[in-house]
Symmetry: C2
Subunit: 252 residues, 2 copies
């Protein structure tokens, strides 16, 4: 192929590689994930929900692509974003409804695509999902309610959940899912949602407080029909202090 053409193609879409983002949120009850709805196709069949993702450009690296796609589809910039894994089964685009949909949005709908999955944690209220070009709608879905997704996205979601479980045992990334001010019960519920197992309330609180990675405010909840709970903020400085000294065990 001509080299000049190649140069021109540097900032064109690469039809062989995509990124998909698994963006987790927390609604104070359970873990959620951001999905797009591709809308009904001609046959009115097939799975409509998918992870937000798209092809990469030739002049950007994978992390940049993930950030760009995330920005384009959700408006979020500069957030914690980490690679999960690459997925590339030749049959990942084997469902008829997926193929049909791709034909409507891609220049090379039959091309084999390798996708690199990323995951991210965001504060749900900071972002009101807005459907982008090819998404008919975008919104949060409770992860426990999901049992199928487009392409191999269900598999990707499972891998991301697993990664999140591992990661939260090593880094206190869960705070990204909570508002600035939160209660220990909310944090507790968050950890239980992610780890999918019950954690002893007292032991959990003690552990968090011994680590000193939360700072208690002089403020309490208001308007709740029970004893109002203490509000806390994440102590980022203390966390940096801990990790600089080689601490990496937030095991539960």
């Amino acid at each position: 192929m001509d080299k000049e053409l190649k140069k021109v193609n540097q900032n064109e879409l690469n039809p062989h590689v995509s990124v998909d983002c698994v963006i987790f949120g927390f609604d104070m009850e359970k873990l959620t994930v951001l999905l797009i709805d591709r809308g009904r196709n001609k046959s009115d069949k097939g799975i409509k929900l998918a992870l937000p993702g798209n092809l990469i450009y030739n002049n950007e690296n994978l992390d940049q692509a993930a950030n760009r796609v995330l920005d384009e589809l959700t408006g979020l910039k500069d957030i914690y974003l980490e690679q999960v894994a690459a997925f590339g089964n030749p049959d990942r685009i084997s469902k008829d409804s997926d193929r049909e949909w791709l034909k409507s949005i891609r220049a090379e709908p039959e091309a084999r695509v390798i996708t690199v999955a990323y995951f991210s944690l965001v504060k749900m209220p900071d972002y009101l999902p807005q459907a982008s070009s090819f998404a008919k709608r975008a919104g949060w879905t409770s992860v426990t309610e999901i049992n199928e997704l487009a392409f191999d996205h269900y598999e990707i979601l499972q891998a991301a959940k697993e990664k999140l479980k591992q990661k939260i045992k090593i880094q206190p990334i869960g705070f990204n899912l909570l508002p600035e001010k939160f209660t220990l019960s909310q944090l507790h519920r968050l950890y239980e949602s992610i780890l999918e197992k019950p954690l002893d309330k007292r032991n959990f609180r003690r552990k968090i407080q011994n680590l000193e990675i939360v700072t208690s405010l002089k403020e309490k909840q208001r308007g709740v029909p029970h004893k109002p709970s203490q509000l806390f903020v994440f102590n980022e400085e203390r966390y940096r202090e801990l990790t600089e000294n080689g601490f990496d065990n937030f095991d539960f």
Copy 2:
């Protein structure tokens, strides 16, 4: 593009995606990794050593490709093989010597390639490296001696080392690096090599033996100029027992 052509291309090389394998060994002293030597190029400059890796075929998935490449380059089949991450900086093929070399072996040497890295642990003596088509030589190099590699392979190696460190804290995969029969000192040295830090001898032995994942043989070392040490084998059954009960902490 014509669909018939696409079909024909199913079992052709995909010029956009490769796999690279980081194959670790242990020479009873230190951790080693299998590298290939691409030989001198015209200018007699540039880095010669690289990780074994190659383009994938369109009709195989990534894991299969990694296994095939590993098999082709090393003769090893059906071994523990796990994805590290995808690497795809647009400038990963920016060194002149790398570009020059690619021209000599690839149909589309200028194409942007995303690579998916895998790592694996093998018993060094079970495999005598044999150089494949485009490798002039293949052999084991101590990981501590490596400070540059072709493409972004140095970066990939670091990521694989990190993955190995994490992994060995969760699963006793180190046994893949040792011969059938080994001593606790060998295992001890192996863990120190991987984790890159000293471990207390007595505590290490106690931990391993309390887990009961090694079985002592009635056999001892012979011909060593010091007290001969007890030989052990890995107890796979016990390991399965432990993991089935949800045990996943081989922390050191």
